[in-house]
């Protein structure tokens, strides 16, 4: 791999570490994450609660909660390192170059401002639109996200809208400045299935129509399979597998990914007893040594608890952090002198 940032990458995250220092304990929320999203691409970050996926979104936005900080790594948005920007500069980046759609559509809009005002505010602040321009822009955006009569909606207050409609408005606001990157953090989790289907359809459609890259953060592998081009599976602050969506589902390699897929009850096929992953996610302030999944892994062997495995390429664009695929034991220092056959 070359060091040069490929020109079609919208976002490159290198060796990101976001840690929380709490008295004597260090909580490693993100511990060495690499991530790349190309223009026009939708990448999904998947994992269970506490794996660091949401913290990744907040780190990119420069919104790490107090007590936490990015202790190392780079976040390159179009080649510009966001971790080096001042708070002032970051304010200009947020909403214009990177924007975010949150999980909870009921609390992410200001209840005292009309829908129109909230969209126009972004347009005026970041793009310097006049009132007229902003109004036209807001109407266009609302029709882009599927509202049939945007003009009528502009004067409405959020409480008049349902959860699904609000989430559409949030997406409109996120797209207002045609940002390089839209981060969608569990955008459909709070919605009903039939509404979720509508929003997923909208995201799919938009990912083809707008030029923004999309980082979809979710716990739901099924949602991922519907919209993402590429998937990064996270576990305990690290990426454990990264692959194009189809390949990940056809050929999951990491035991954790396989376990996750087995856990999901299917809507088709024979009903069998669900397989589950034993134990629970380790607490981020008490991570096991070596491979973090080792204590729960059904195929762990003596090498796993020794050191954290590196990401290994099993096929083009498909990487796994697992010793099972590490053909060169020498790279980590083989304990025995046995030469490979």
């Amino acid at each position: 791999m070359s060091d040069a940032v490929p020109s079609d990458a919208a976002l490159v995250v290198e060796d990101l570490r976001t840690w929380f220092l709490r008295g004597d304990a260090t909580v490693k929320a993100i511990d060495g994450l690499d991530l790349r999203i190309d223009r026009n691409e939708t990448v999904a970050l998947v994992g269970e609660s506490g794996c660091g996926k949401s913290m990744t979104g907040l780190s990119i936005m420069g919104l790490v909660p107090s007590g936490g900080q990015i202790v190392s790594g780079r976040i390159l948005l179009d080649g510009r390192d966001l971790t080096r920007l001042t708070d002032r500069e970051m304010e200009r980046v947020r909403g214009r170059d990177v924007s975010m759609v949150f999980q909870e559509p009921m609390t992410s809009l200001n209840p005292l401002m009309t829908i129109g005002e909230q969209i126009m505010e972004v347009l005026r602040y970041h793009l310097g639109h006049t009132s007229d321009q902003a109004k036209r822009g807001a109407e266009q955006l609302l029709s882009l996200v599927g509202f049939a009569r945007p003009r009528r909606l502009i004067g409405e207050y959020p409480h008049r809208l349902s959860g699904g409609m609000r989430q559409r408005v949030m997406i409109a606001i996120a797209l207002a400045c045609e940002p390089r990157l839209v981060i969608a953090d569990e955008p459909t989790t709070a919605l009903d299935v039939t509404i979720q289907a509508q929003i997923l359809e909208l995201l799919q459609e938009l990912s083809q129509r707008v030029r923004s890259a999309i980082l979809l953060i979710t716990h739901d592998l099924a949602v991922v399979s519907e919209v993402a081009d590429r998937v990064v599976v996270m576990y305990a602050g690290q990426a454990v597998e990264s692959a194009p969506t189809d390949r990940l589902f056809d050929n999951p390699c990491h035991p954790y990914t396989r376990g996750l897929l087995d856990c999901i009850p299917a809507i088709e096929g024979p009903v069998t007893r669900l397989r589950s992953i034993a134990g629970s996610v380790p607490r981020p302030d008490a991570l096991p040594p070596g491979c973090r999944f080792a204590p729960r892994c059904p195929v762990a062997f003596d090498r796993c608890p020794l050191a954290v495995p590196r990401m290994i390429e099993v096929e083009p664009e498909h990487q796994v952090r697992c010793y099972l695929f590490d053909g060169e034991p020498g790279s980590e220092g083989s304990p025995s002198g046995d030469p490979p056959a």
Binding site: V193, A197, E201, L221, A222, L260, D262, C263
Partner: protein, 326 residues
Amino acid sequence: MSKPLLSVRGLSMTFPIRAGVFQRTRGHVYAVSDVSFDLRRGGTLGIVGESGSGKSTLGKCVIRLVEPTAGTVVFDGRDVTHLREPELRRSIRSRIQMVFQDPFSSLNPRQSLQSIVEEPLHVHHRLERTERAAYAADLIERVGLDPARRDRKPHEFSGGQRQRIAIARALALRPELIIADEPVSALDVSVQAQIMNLLDDLQREFGLTYVFISHDLSVVRHASEDVAVMYLGRLMELASRDSLFADYRHPYTQALMSAVPSVRRVGARRRSRVVLSGEMPDSSDPPGGCVFHTRCPYARDRCRTEVPAVHDIAENHRIACHFPIE
């Protein structure tokens, strides 16, 4: 067929909306309307629906946490619909238990694990103090927790472990019927499977009967023997699991099925699906006729005026639709 353990007939729950200075009734929310079903001992009825479908209220009516406004609930041959609270406590509470969705709010943060699990025994004066502790320890172990942690408070446990505690508490009185209201939706997928398997094992071991409420079709499919689909307080379709999932006849069930994202369908990604337009109407102002007609792709004139009755369409397959899918 033997006598059902639970038999619900024409159950409705309506509550008034009060507003304004004089708290006058401004309208009614029709949370549950005219729902009937039977549930055999040892069986599991899955109730599936979106938020606002009344599935939770239905469950709470059965366990009498909310008072139904019409209809009857017959439990083990006895009409419990209008039992007064003291009688309810004496003879029914110990036989029907509930597991709630959110394991963070369903456990009192100030109680220890042991006191949470023991409390039901204490309330019903079962066993002596020392026996209680041993019994609780057994239960705690049975649901997969370490009895050595019995003095810990709920916040020291993970979400999945808390749900195990809630299950142990529900089991303490050896109930016959358990209402599980979204028992796994607040949990991570890997933990979700553990809890579903636990519920499954316990059902077999203790001969439990479940009402399993969930918004997630795949979860309901795995947990249930019969499945009821609800929309806006009404029963849309009720059938055995296999016939519902293989041979659904209601347009709403069809839409619900096709809306479920699924990893097993990767090959057919970006397929055409029945995406319903619009959202569920307000339950204080349900549409006339069939409640689903405003979103139904096949609605005709009759659907707008006439409420479809729930009728048998095949053996063990009931549906409320004028024009079922063939």
